[in-house]
């Protein structure tokens, strides 16, 4: 197995740990590459198609490399009611990317998720896991600018 994926050794080899293994890969690289699928299949001793099958089932797994800053706009019920669709459109037009895409410089990627559990602060988004609440047009654009400058 590729040395790069030696951290898998810390996870037990039984196939019930497959999802955990894939989460470890995504945690390390930000996405699950073709190459890592081969490594995972080899490690757990299961066919690659089965790994693909599990990957495609779960929304969490990304198959393309995300940007440096991963924006997740919540479109759960509370946020939807509070205008999350518009927040997402504003972000899209500010960054020129749609949900599921990464911008050309690899700075931002945008995705839509269902509920970050901070519904009382709706509408909400998270950037690299940090949650921002009570969004409106002004503060959303301001937050994006701050990240752009980083």
């Amino acid at each position: 197995m590729d040395q790069k994926y030696s951290f898998l050794e810390k996870i037990g080899r039984e196939p019930s740990n497959l999802i955990k293994g894939l989460q470890a890969i995504q945690g390390a690289e930000g996405y699950v590459s073709d190459e890592s699928i081969t490594a995972v299949a080899e490690y757990f001793g299961i066919p690659e198609v089965e790994v693909e099958g599990v990957l495609s089932f779960y929304a969490q797994f990304k198959r393309v490399k995300p940007g440096r800053f991963k924006i997740a706009v919540c479109d759960g019920t509370a946020c939807h009611i509070k205008g999350s669709v518009q927040i997402q459109e504003w972000i899209s037009s500010a960054l020129g990317i749609k949900s599921g895409e990464t911008d050309k410089n690899g700075t931002f990627s945008l995705e839509t998720v269902a509920c970050l559990g901070c519904c009382s602060l709706a509408p909400v988004m998270s950037i690299n896991g940090r949650v921002y609440g009570k969004l409106d047009r002004k503060n959303t654009i301001k937050i994006l600018k701050e990240y752009e400058a980083k």
């Binding site: 504003w90 509920c115 901070c118 921002y132 047009r137």
Partner: protein, 572 residues
């Protein structure tokens, strides 16, 4: 007040608090205070976050709400100033009954000794002096029903697992909390992880379980962290040694699939595969994780268990209604003044929760949605309904896990139904044809109607498809997916009809049915709208070209004079 002495400070740093900026407040306060500053969980008053509590030497407390992380606000708190003090609204105080959440926001969630000092693990200790069947019986007496949505009697479920003979028996805590708009379980796990684990350990003693799993959604990193810390502390104190068995407690992270909250799908996911539900029977208590007898309960269900042991089943059952005992947590969000987490006795009316506690404006509320995408909406006219499993079912809604979204009069119910179907059709695992294709067709029909292209036949089609999807689906996802559509058709048919007959969205929410209008009499010609428009639809003399406009509302959002608004398509 100024001579009162401060013993310590507590800052609410659950996810919702942090999102509101509580971490910065905690940092600044820690740097400036001469007394200890502790991070604690969620008090449920999310609208007042960040919240700081000054605990005084005399045992009293002073709260500060919406605290800013600046010198002035911190100085004010250090001096116990009058400014920015927070008090629980009196109406709320009169209705709520805080039992399950009693420790949330009162203890340091990851401090084992703090939990024990507040009576933690007394329930487990008591349980261990009782025979397993006595514990099961106590839970039966309490009348506790599953808080995960189904409302199955918990004591009965425990007795099924207890009756099994097997090498391994599994207890799983369902922490998938998939209903978008619900956060009760998150809050409880973040604020009092030991309470949930104590409930699980009591269950292990009562049922003879050998292995405990917590299946938590990955979107809850803080909950996962706190649970893991708590589990290490349990190992350290050997509390996982139950009846001579050394229990393994494992946290597994979900990977973003709503259907994995369904118990058979959850088990498939725990086994490492695709989370597709399977036919029941066999029920998990007969054949579950890797074939072993397995019992699944929700986070809040386990959170109730220590209370039952501490106060006894009969005492527990004094609160609530005939068929629904105890209290229930609700996550209040949407169009209301005080969004947050509340705990009320079963049988409290929706009106009390939404108006008295939530502070929603009586004239501006149209409905509430309970049970998320599996639930139904309840129109404001029926808000006298008490919340208990059976009353809500009668209305075509469900208790669900406790998400309660308040929908204002300015929202379109057809769009709301479309939203829920967009969720369920996306989350359908694809196993059952009626769920996979049926929800997709229903979604398409709703897209058509909200786009102004629907017909009256479409309404009939929805009414025909709904019951079929319900009947032809294996698991609760498909069985309940039509609920939001059928419920809105039942109570708000006129809105559907206005969309298909008059191409009118009264709420002015459906983009295809509205224009944007700039009121020249209010306009101050500041040009902010022109600058904000991504498609150049506003002319130099401030007229909006609705053929170009994408209805993104950027202009309306930046206009300082609120001169731009939505109007019915073709009306100006």
């Amino acid at each position: 007040m100024s001579d009162a002495k401060i013993k310590k400070f507590r800052v609410g740093v659950a996810s919702c608090g942090v999102a509101a900026g509580a971490d910065a407040v905690l940092e600044l306060l820690s740097a400036r205070a001469t007394v200890p500053v502790e991070g604690t969980g969620c008090l449920g008053h999310c609208y007042a976050e960040p919240l700081v509590e000054a605990v005084l030497e005399d045992g009293k407390s002073v709260f500060y709400g919406n605290v800013k992380a600046d010198e002035k606000s911190i100085e004010n708190i250090l001096n116990l100033g009058e400014e920015g003090r927070f008090e629980v609204p009196a109406l709320r105080k009169a209705i709520e009954k805080v039992k399950v959440l009693a420790l949330a926001g009162r203890i340091n969630p990851t401090d084992f000794d703090d939990y024990v000092a507040h009576g933690g693990y007394a329930g487990l200790r008591k349980a261990l002096t009782m025979r397993p069947e006595e514990v099961v019986n106590e839970v039966k007496i309490s009348g506790l029903r599953g808080r995960g949505g189904g409302g199955f009697p918990t004591g009965n479920k425990w007795s099924f697992l207890a009756a099994k003979q097997a090498d391994e028996k599994i207890v799983i805590c369902n922490a998938d909390e998939g209903d978008p708009g619900a956060f009760m379980d998150r809050s409880l796990m973040e604020s009092a992880p030991h309470q949930v684990l104590e409930g699980m350990l009591i269950a292990a003693h009562a049922t003879g379980a050998t292995k405990l799993f917590i299946y938590c959604r990955a979107e809850y990193p803080m909950a996962i962290k706190h649970l893991k810390i708590a589990i290490d502390q349990i190992y350290e104190h050997k509390l996982n040694h139950v009846d001579g068995r050394e229990l393994e407690i494992i946290v597994k992270e979900g990977a973003g699939a709503f259907v994995c909250g369904e118990e058979t799908a959850l088990i498939a996911s725990l086994e490492g595969g695709r989370g597709t539900p399977r036919f029941r029977p066999p029920f998990p208590t007969d054949k579950g994780w890797k074939g072993y007898p397995t019992m699944i309960n929700n986070v809040e269900t386990f959170g109730n268990v220590p209370l039952i042991l501490n106060e006894g089943g009969a005492k527990f059952a004094e609160v609530g209604t005939e068929g629904s005992k105890g209290t229930k947590l609700f996550a209040l969000a949407g169009d209301l003044k005080y969004p947050g987490l509340v705990e009320v006795p079963m049988g409290t009316t929706i009106a009390q929760i939404v108006f008295d506690i939530g502070g929603a404006d009586r004239d501006s509320v149209k409905a509430v949605q309970t049970g998320g995408p599996s639930g139904g909406c309840i129109p404001a006219e029926l808000f006298d309904t008490p919340v208990d499993y059976d009353s809500l079912k009668k209305l075509g809604a469900i208790m669900g896990s406790g998400g309660m979204i308040v929908i204002g009069r300015n929202r379109c119910m057809v769009e709301t139904a479309r939203y829920f179907l967009s969720f369920t059709h996306r989350e359908s695992c694809g196993k059952c044809t009626f769920c996979r294709v049926g929800t997709t067709r229903m979604f398409e029909i709703l897209e058509r109607i909200t786009a102004g292209k629907g017909t009256e036949e479409d309404l009939a089609l929805l009414e025909e498809l709904g019951p079929k999807v319900r009947a032809g689906s294996l698991c609760g996802l498909g069985q309940t997916a039509p609920n939001p559509v059928l419920a809105t058709l039942r109570y708000y048919r006129h809105e559907y009809e206005a969309h298909v007959k008059d191409h009118c969205c009264e709420a002015l929410e459906c983009k295809a049915l509205v224009d944007l209008f700039l009121d020249q009499s209010k306009c101050v010609k500041c040009k902010l709208c022109i600058k904000s428009c991504p498609v150049g639809a506003i002319s130099d003399n401030f007229v909006i070209d609705n053929a170009k406009c994408t209805r993104c509302n950027s202009c309306a959002a930046v206009c300082p004079k609120h001169a731009i608004r939505r109007v019915k398509k073709g009306s100006n």
